[in-house]
Every structure is written in structure tokens, then in C-alpha cells.
Symmetry: D2
Subunit: 191 residues, 4 copies
């Protein structure tokens, strides 16, 4: 399987990056088909985009990212991992979504406060049985995502929080070091 | 991608089952190649075995399990998910390992107190760059796994704990419900 | 110190009970003075009320609880722990708050969907520098509590989630068993 | 109640400090009587020692700490919080334990690899029904503490892990930020 690149392998600068375990769970929950079209919104370093592109070798990934520095990192990571089915779209979503083709999966890692309008914009693009996977680390975004999918007639959803602690070897000891908990909300378009 | 079967889809009886998120992480960390030979030790319901078999369509999975009831469930799940490259080996490991072919990945979910002798038995079978992924929920097994890989000249390892809480909808609320934390120790055979 | 009664010591029937570690943190964060007046809203089994009453031997605790069965348990636990400075108020809050005296601390463990009106009702009763401690296990109540204290001119707040796993001895092993994560929001009346 | 000083109130330099929630739980689990004698081993900044001294106004706390810088911090914190029933013992435990009086509670936050010999040294000093509370963040110390109390005829024990995430306000959001999980092992001397 192509999935599961080490965190340290990505070029990342100062841009925050989804950690490996969360990346794996998000990509599996997104159920990306080999020929899938994927939107990665708030793509950051592009770590999710690159792995999504490898899971969809006959498909295409659109990485939407507003920050110039991050757009550069996504392009560098695409080159590093030899991924060509990935287009960087340097916009602040929901801007830019209208011009994209229909899609099979939407990953939302950063919404810049526009989560509701982003979800409104991707809904007509998302194919039946397609998935949206929202990751978030704030109470407000979690609440907004859940509220959106609860009131929606199109989606079913499930959600979880994942808290990973890494065992870091220090001399004869392995120390538990916590990573921040991440909420993962997975919605499926049912109609 | 084939990975990510829902927990509820497996036939499980009273046998404890690795939950979906942990299953996904274990299988990705095991880095199973499409033609890979996999040992699943303490296979339980066979949920890991079935998903491993789907990740290795040109390979084969050997599910070692001492309990008769569980062996039956593994066979039923193999049929349900139409997996034919899976052999149930009804033994208490390390018994039975000697007779198996060389392998690319070893998943250890249950060791019945024999972790050290299981690791000793699989080490000569495991190919270079192959992975062992131990999941455990007790202090003692965690300590033994770490101690084994620390003292070993063949392996490098990393380890983490993963604690998932599920958001269960109850009327207008989403309640956080904890699943037990699981330790995942991943060792790679370096020489 | 009086604090830290074992969970198993309380009479509890089928009523859910705040676990020991959470109870300790809530009571310490509430900063109850020895002569303090305390409201325990959604008192359940009365485990918090009883411990609060012991921390305020010269004060008084009002346990507001809408369920008859739970009111009975609170009274039984008060007798069991020989606590006499505790009054059960069998109402669904915010009902009943108006008739209570001014207070030094408010514990809110259950709000039955009325969190905002409860907070509105206790605010004029709470003395300057008094604390409100809200515990919750749902996304919606967490969000509502935070939103309330954010928009309020009277309060500062801090919040955390606490996830406890207990190590349960099973033969030669100690198994990690998760308790549900609890959010604790502590607000202080500043003006 | 005296318990529950804010983390930010302690003078701490570069020395690691037990966080507030863990400190509270450790001190309550130690069940320190007002006239109690307490050993705080690996006292660090003295945050536990200071709070223990306030819980035992008629008792005394012995803070054992091998690092000179930390010993200075303990003394500064004692002065800051106006605590006089606290003696800094600048040794690497188990050294120095022999010369101390009998005690009611032992807090072990740092054992410098000597946990077993520290436990051997404090056992004859600890009064019947007294408590030892070990906090640790490594697999190895956790395992050693559990193994010690399991094989011991004098002690019963229970243990838990506590993982706190703080909700940090960032503009209109509250972000979850994880603190490292801590294991707390509480042993009671039964005979």
C-alpha cells in the first residue's frame, strides 16, 4: 500500500502539518477510489494531498491553500514524492471551488472561519456516496461541522476524537509525549 | 482503497475485536506489500486478517488463533468478505510458526503471555525490511515488547498510544464515549 | 483533607455518577471556602454535593435535582457520610434558583438543555470572585458553556478536557480501561 | 480549601513541574492528614511540597531533591507561599531517607532510576494506612512501580493514567492542546 509516509519525509517549513496517524485515518475514512477526484481544502504542507494523489493514481487532487509559503511547500512535496496528478489552487476557499470538477472526496483541514460556506460550496460538487472528512482542533469548528451535518438532508455523519501519544526513547526510558487531540468528522453524501 | 471496513460489518460473537481506527493504523504501519505474506497472531475475529488479505491480493495471510470459537469466526468473516488467500492455523503461538513460510509482516494482537517466544520464533521468518506490529492494552505486554526490541540487534522500533473517543449522537447531543487506549509498537527488521 | 471519597463508597443505584478524579478536580477548581454556600445543579447521586458539604462544614450545599430517584440517593448519601449541611431541592433548574441565598460556588453537572438560563439565573446569586464549574460530556454543552462565558462581561474562564484510564489488574496483567473524557469549564466572576 | 495553586504562581526556572490537575490528584490521593509527615521525593520546583505543606499545617514536609538549582527553587517557592513547615533535603534518594522521621505519605515524582531502592527505603518509615503516590511518564517506571506493589505483601495499589488537554483561546476559537499523559500509582500500606 502506498499510504503511510513518515512525517519527517515531508518538506514542511513553519507550516503546521497533520501528523501521520491522523493523516492515515483521514485518508482511509475518505474512501478515495483509484480514479477519484479529491479536494484538499486548507492543504497546508500538502501532506494529505500527496498521499491522496498516490491513492488515486488515475484520479486528481486539487489542493486549495491561501498561504503562498504553503503553496510552495505543496509543490515541493509533490515533486519530492513524484506526484503529478496534483494541482495547487492558491485561493482562500470557498473561493475557487466553483471552477473545479465534480469530486469523490473532500478533505477539510483548514477552513479559515468559512466552514459553512465551504460545505455549501462543495456539496453540489460531491458525487453520491462521496465523503467529506473534516479534521479540527477547536471547539467552535467541531461544533459547526456537527451542526452542519446534523441539519443537512444530504449527509449522514460520524465523528471521533483521536489522541496519540508517542513513546520517545530517552536513555533507558520510553517517555509518553502527547500530540494534540484531533476531531475527525466523516460525512457521507446519501442523496 | 480496500482498507477501512466498518466494525459492525464483521461477524464477531463474544470475541473481542480491534476497533476500526486501530485496525487501520496497524495495517498501514505493517506496510504490507500486494504480494505479502502476513502472520496475524492472536487473530481473534479475523478482522485484521481479512483486511490484510485484501491488501495483499497476490499474497497470503496466516491467522493463528488458539480458541476454537474464534477460528470459526475468522472462517466466517473470510467467506463474508470473499477472501480466499487466508489460512486459519488453530494453534497457540509460538506453536505452528515453524511450519509457516517466510513473511513480510507480523501482526501480534494477542500473545497469551508468550510474547518473547513468539518474537523469537517469527524473527528468523521475517524478511529484511519487514515489520512487526504489536498492539497491546496492558502495562506488562507493552513493557515486554519495548524491552524486546530495545535489546535486539535486528530491529528498530517506534511506539505510540492511541486513544479514540467516539461522538455518539443522543437526541440533540453528541456524547464523547471513550474506547480503551491501545499501544502500538512497530518494529522494522533492519538486518 | 476530607476530599477524595472512593466511588464505590457512594450509594448510586442506576444514576450516573461523576468519577473520583473528576470530582476532585471540580471541587478544587470551585475553590469552596469553609463557610461557603454551594449550588450543585443536576446533582445526580449527590457525590459532589456530599464532598462539597464536607469542604464547607460551616457553609451549606443546595443540591438541585429533577429526578425523584436521584433525590432519594442524595439524601441517603448525606446520611451515610453524616453530612447535615445539605438540602435537596427537587426541581428542574433554573426553577428553584430564585429562592436560594447568594452563593460562593456553583457546580453544574447536568443542565437538561437549560444551561444558558441556568447561568443567567445563578449569575446574580454568585458572589464576586465566586466560581462556576461546568462539567460536560457533549459537544453541544461544551460549546454553549464556552460561548456563554466568552460573551459575558462578568466572567473569565478556563477549560480543559480530562481523560482518565484506569489500570485494572487481570491476573498477571494491568489492563488500561478508559473512562469517558470530561470537559471542565471553570468561570470566575470578576465583576 | 488550600489546594489548587495555579501553575503560573510557582517560581520554576527551567525545572519541569507537575501540572495543576495532576498535582491536585496526587495530593488528594496521598490523603495527607493535617498533622502529617510527608516525603516529596524528586521534588523539582517544590510545587507539590508547597501544597502538601499547606495541607499539613501541623505537620512537616521533607523535599528530597538532588539538583542544586531545583533546591533553590523549592526554597523560593516556600518563601513565596509563606510555608515554614518544609525542609529541603539536597540528596539523591534513597540517600537521606534513613535520617528522616516516620511519615504518613510519600510522593515520588522523580526517582532517578532508583525507584526500587527508594521504595525499599521508605517502606519501614511509612505508617500503617499511609500512602505512597508515584507519578511517572515512562513505560519503564510505570512497569517497575506496578511490579513492586504487585509482589509486595505490605501494599495494595491502584493506578490510572490521566491525560489533560487545555482549551486555549486563540481569537474566536478554543484550541485543544494536549499535556503529556501521567500515570499515577497509589499504594496503601496495609500491614
Amino acid at each position: 500500500m502506498q499510504l503511510g509516509i513518515d512525517d519527517a519525509s515531508f518538506i514542511r517549513g513553519q507550516v503546521p502539518m497533520t501528523k501521520q496517524e491522523i493523516r492515515i485515518l483521514v485518508l482511509v475514512k475518505a474512501a478515495i477510489p483509484p480514479n477519484g477526484i479529491v479536494f484538499d481544502i486548507g492543504a497546508g504542507t500538502g501532506s494529505l494531498s500527496v498521499e491522496a494523489a498516490r491513492l488515486a493514481p488515475e484520479g486528481h487532487v486539487y489542493a486549495l491553500e491561501r498561504k503562498e509559503e504553503a503553496c510552495g511547500l505543496i509543490r515541493q512535496n509533490a515533486v519530492k514524492f513524484d506526484v503529478t496528478n496534483l494541482t495547487v489552487v492558491p485561493v482562500e476557499a470557498p473561493e475557487g471551488i466553483d471552477g473545479l470538477p465534480d469530486c469523490d472526496a473532500v478533505l477539510i483541514g483548514g477552513s479559515g472561519g468559512h466552514l459553512t460556506s465551504i460545505l455549501d460550496a462543495v456539496t453540489p460538487k460531491l458525487r453520491l456516496d462521496g465523503h467529506i472528512v473534516v479534521t479540527c482542533i477547536t471547539v467552535q469548528t467541531l461544533h459547526r461541522a456537527i451542526a452542519y451535518f446534523r441539519q443537512s438532508a444530504e449527509y449522514t455523519y460520524d465523528a471521533c476524537s483521536v489522541q496519540v501519544s508517542r513513546l520517545r526513547p530517552v536513555g533507558p526510558y520510553d517517555m509518553m509525549q502527547a500530540e494534540n487531540p484531533v476531531f475527525i468528522i466523516t460525512a457521507k453524501k446519501e442523496r
